[in-house]
Symmetry: C2
Subunit: 194 residues, 2 copies
Amino acid sequence: MSKQGILFVLTGPSGVGKGTVLAEVCKQKELYLSTSATTREPRPGEQDGVQYYFLTREQFEQKVAENGFLEHAEFSGNCYGTPAEPVDAQLDAGHDVMLEIEVQGAMQVHQMRPDAVRIFIAPPSFAELERRLTGRGTEDADAVRRRLETAKHELTLAKEFDYIVVNNTVEQATADVLAILRAENCRAAQVEIK
Amino acid sequence: MSKQGILFVLTGPSGVGKGTVLAEVCKQKELYLSTSATTREPRPGEQDGVQYYFLTREQFEQKVAENGFLEHAEFSGNCYGTPAEPVDAQLDAGHDVMLEIEVQGAMQVHQMRPDAVRIFIAPPSFAELERRLTGRGTEDADAVRRRLETAKHELTLAKEFDYIVVNNTVEQATADVLAILRAENCRAAQVEIK
């Protein structure tokens, strides 16, 4: 029996730096990143299967009906989801897979795949997250306030995850995530005794 | 509430290299190593509380009766055990503790402390363990054969541990153990959300 890959889920509130941490992790560890599907229109330059799988709403709903998503949700009238099939193909080939998704999606994955290893990236403090989101300067005060309200709720869910990585610095958070990936590959169930 | 330390147990068959790996781990991570108690006579130069706590058989049996050991066993007419008290004092002070003990002892710790994180060091293959034990040249063929029989049985228990680290090289096994220590400190129950 050849080794199955491990499904990892990386999540955390908006502004916590999960994308930055994941980019660093990928420099040091080979990892298959999943591609989401969406019903929104492709923007100029976006290619099907690269940034997203672009589906019609009909195709999307069909896939939902077939349990074809590990998680899915609707934002501002568009549907987004993580197709299960390409993820499973990689896992079956023995490759570890990382989903970088929103907190609610990460909760859904747990329903579909209780064996997924779920990592929650947390800010050093709520005040620091506030400072980071305000400091971006790309959104009006109302949008920031909404993000912070969502973040406050999401932080109450952190304890339901397997791991919590506090993003004090990108270096430390990256090393923490890499340690988790390495340790999970040493789980007794993963290792073959010869 | 201040953070409790984590209790780690490192075990594996005789000759697998757990002492070497642990020595390397300790160069890179602060870790409290527990001291065993024994009823055997101190050898010249051995100090009470350093190599061992030296107890009379009466003192040892008293401690067993009080549930004062995390694990204990008798070998060649002498008793050996891991006293719980100094371990708990370190855990309460927030320090991670590592017990390097025999496989049977590691199984006992699980009974007493189900939350202990147990790491099994395995050889790359049984043939390689045989080669290493024979290569030592310090024991007669009978003693080596007995060790190998014990090892064969112990390897069947590996899957009951939390982690299995295959000691292909000291560097890789050390990095695996360090990753496990780091990852366990990111467990959701260990991390305080601010």
